[in-house]
Subunit: 281 residues, 4 copies
């Protein structure tokens, strides 16, 4: 016997920009949205029966229409409206909405923000994932692609050595990483923008402040700080590549290199992931 054991489908990479025009200037939202549904869709696979298959084109249209009507507040509220909408279809058991928010800021002209001109930039992307089921709604928020570096207070010592070990121990290496951090909120009703900003600040401040004996410890220290300082957060998952920066050997050129000139590399790279959670006890 052959059976379908898991399936989901949806629309990804829905790009949209919303300009809210006001007397004091425009507000800009720039999003990439992905919507995925799970539920009673087996007949579409096994029988070619599309009766239950909400077209992914319809999902795209809904994302556009809801951007008009439901995007005055945080990403999470917009995502929740979309998730609730699709969950109202009887065939849907799980509706997942993932949103990336791209950062723009007003261009400064003579020190004042221009009301109608923007420059894209900033550090990393804000993300939110809203998962609606009939049992309730889960909201995750986080950041992607925040590239950070510690120029000191990072070590890596005491690791085991075998036939294939050539890495030297170091008390003072350069540590760089591109942070993906996703945290789960305990409630679907929060002041999401404020909490996001606060958690992001904690993440960056702790990254800057702590002494790192390994990327593993850095994840734990940052994750623990987020849970300690932000009651709204239940769990944090982090994925940290170790973007190695190798000290260049300048001795052949008669030069010393005391932790000064590095060559950054991307291949290969370490990859460290962990999830830290608040428990009941």
């Amino acid at each position: 016997m052959i059976e379908l054991v898991a399936d989901r489908y949806g629309k990804a990479a829905i790009r949209l920009v919303r300009v809210a025009r006001g007397p004091d200037g425009d507000t800009l939202r720039d999003l990439t949205v992905a919507i995925a549904l799970e539920g009673d869709f087996a007949a579409a696979h096994t029988d070619g029966d599309n009766t239950n298959v909400i077209a992914t084109d319809t999902m795209k249209n809904t994302a556009y229409a809801f951007a008009k009507s439901h995007l005055d507040g945080p990403l999470e509220a917009y995502g929740r409206a979309l998730a609730d909408h699709f969950l109202a279809a009887p065939q849907v058991d799980v509706a997942t909405v993932n949103i990336k928010g791209h950062h723009w800021q007003h261009i400064a002209v003579g020190g004042q923000p221009a009301p109608d001109a923007f420059v894209r930039g900033g550090e990393g992307t804000r993300v939110a994932t809203i998962t609606g089921t009939h049992a309730g709604t889960t909201v995750e928020a986080g950041v992607e692609d925040v590239v950070v570096m510690k120029t000191t207070r990072s070590a890596f010592r005491g690791f085991p050595r075998d036939t294939y070990t050539t890495l030297a121990e170091t008390d003072d290496r350069l540590m760089a990483t591109k942070v993906t951090a996703i945290w789960r909120y305990g409630s679907p009703d929060l002041d999401f923008d404020a909490v996001f900003a606060a958690v992001r600040t904690t993440l960056l401040e702790v990254f800057a402040d702590h002494e790192s004996p390994s990327v593993q410890t850095s994840i734990w220290v940052m994750g623990k700080a987020i849970l300690d300082r932000h009651d709204e957060v239940e769990q944090v998952r982090m994925v940290l590549p170790n973007l190695h920066h190798w000290l260049v050997d300048l001795r052949p050129f008669g030069l010393e290199n005391d932790r000064e000139i590095y060559t950054p590399t991307t291949e290969p790279h370490g990859l460290i992931e962990a999830t830290v959670r608040r428990t009941e006890a």
Copy 2:
């Protein structure tokens, strides 16, 4: 209380090329390898204790060294040797080795393959993932980035219509997708190269042959065919973006467009995923 609930780490994007030099010409292997370990690594996170932390640099070195000694056969055998090696360390519970094989072929000179010159190309990338645990070894194989298109015999009809539905029903659309298909073998000891080639052929032939009422059905039909024809395979997971090709409206220019001129798009795209499995019954 705050606790670590999951963690793993390793080295990703290890690039290596192996040239096996023979009297009748060279053989070329070009791989990207990722190694990840799970096990007794909590102290590295919570106590900064690296006693158990096999350096990811050591993993890289091991991948290079084993390329010398264990890469005469299929990717899967090389991956298994690496997984077994790391699993032999007492702190390791799970060792996962993911390998991408990049395709090169001999350049033809006067119709004959040059012994020592190659051109990179082909359709998609071969992948293998070997997961070693103390309970046994699982081998998955598959392809990524195989871009295929059906120019006819693809329809999408009978889907529900609501306020946000504007998509027309169609009996004859162009269907294009970039296939990711990963299948799990029932045994870690197979003639992996032969089985891979056979499954890949089935995948492409069935894609070409079948009538598609939806991408969902296409996944089912391809997955089912793989399970029907290849006893070695227990399960197939496929992820198929729907790379929309929209018929261009040429009427303003006085031209008819009967399924002839399309504009391909990548944003947004449908995304359909499913897993099909052989069951005991």
Copy 3:
């Protein structure tokens, strides 16, 4: 005084697919087109006067419409039709059409090509640039992104050594590159598909055959062979990155590495460019 000294504009990244449906199966063309115009457009810059500015949206529409009417033959004929069309506008002095042709082939089913199913792939991209002026039309053709490798018969010796030189001389290195080769035809009326195929074969065969003392020599040898063997070609320009493959030091692991295990790198890379031309004499 401030003056406009050069300007051009157009539409880039126009994506289109054409399916020619025939009794023996479909034929697929997949193109990315860019159109650029130069001419009497200064007033658009300096006076905001768009009287002469053919909208880039119109260029896109024209590319689609001409795909219907002018794409039965080679890329170059389609590009020339577009260039001639835009050159007919009195304000246009130069119309440049650049076309990339993406390769698809029929999927084989039971050894026979499926009439209506295709897989994308192949080695590199075919390109053509047609430049129309009132003085005449120039046609360039070529390839991009053809990744090739020689596993032997490549050396690099006899280069100068100074304070900053650490590279060892080598008689037998691995040479890999991603070829961009663009050749200019002497006539705008040729059997473009046949000549393209023949020149591409020469390029690959000579790459495979020659002994390389440097990438510089390789460019010369390939370019010269193209000019020697193909009278239709007047000039060849090549850009060859040197995609370094470094021999891995396996001695710490007790292993020899006689030109066997390499690590490919992309940063940094050499970059060698040259143009070779037929002269009157």
Copy 4:
């Protein structure tokens, strides 16, 4: 006769990070450097004679060594030191050094910049190109990948209409672009950091302030303002893609869309380029 008509070679994508460690905190420089040489290199092509061929590996080493000794000041001074160094070799006629500077800033902790922790970000990349010849040195500076948007005061009207024109005239479109702007200085000895910052500010302020009847005019207005306000600049070249944002038709869903919800696209895109220069008169 076949001849070599142009050739150059060098090393590209040299990545380096310099950490200058000071009592008040570290300073971080993150560069991607490319070096290219022209001169008496024909024998390397035609005769396989490497006597004059400074190895690109040597160029890389020199870039690292000079990062130690010549990178206390602006990018341009470092680039000039490299160009002068290579120009001192008798076979070199032209030495071109292109530098991209990647932006990092100190992470704020409690409102104060951390001395030794940084986050990468900002808007666009700073670039500099130093071209040394025996006749003198030319310095160009600029920005790449600065993505900006005007949410109003951008129009496109009065363009010609033909058979293939379907674009409507508009008084109020959204204009977005990714600016590449490269300006040439009149002297190789300037306070490069200060001038760069001032020119960049002009570019952004004028983009924000002006009324745009076309991207063509925007280039002219920005280029002219840079030349008007900055005597150090002789010439400005700009390349502006027109990153179209299309107003979504929400009428099928019973919603109005008065310049509010847009879908951003990247394919196809307009591409407008022009050079504006100061003339003697």
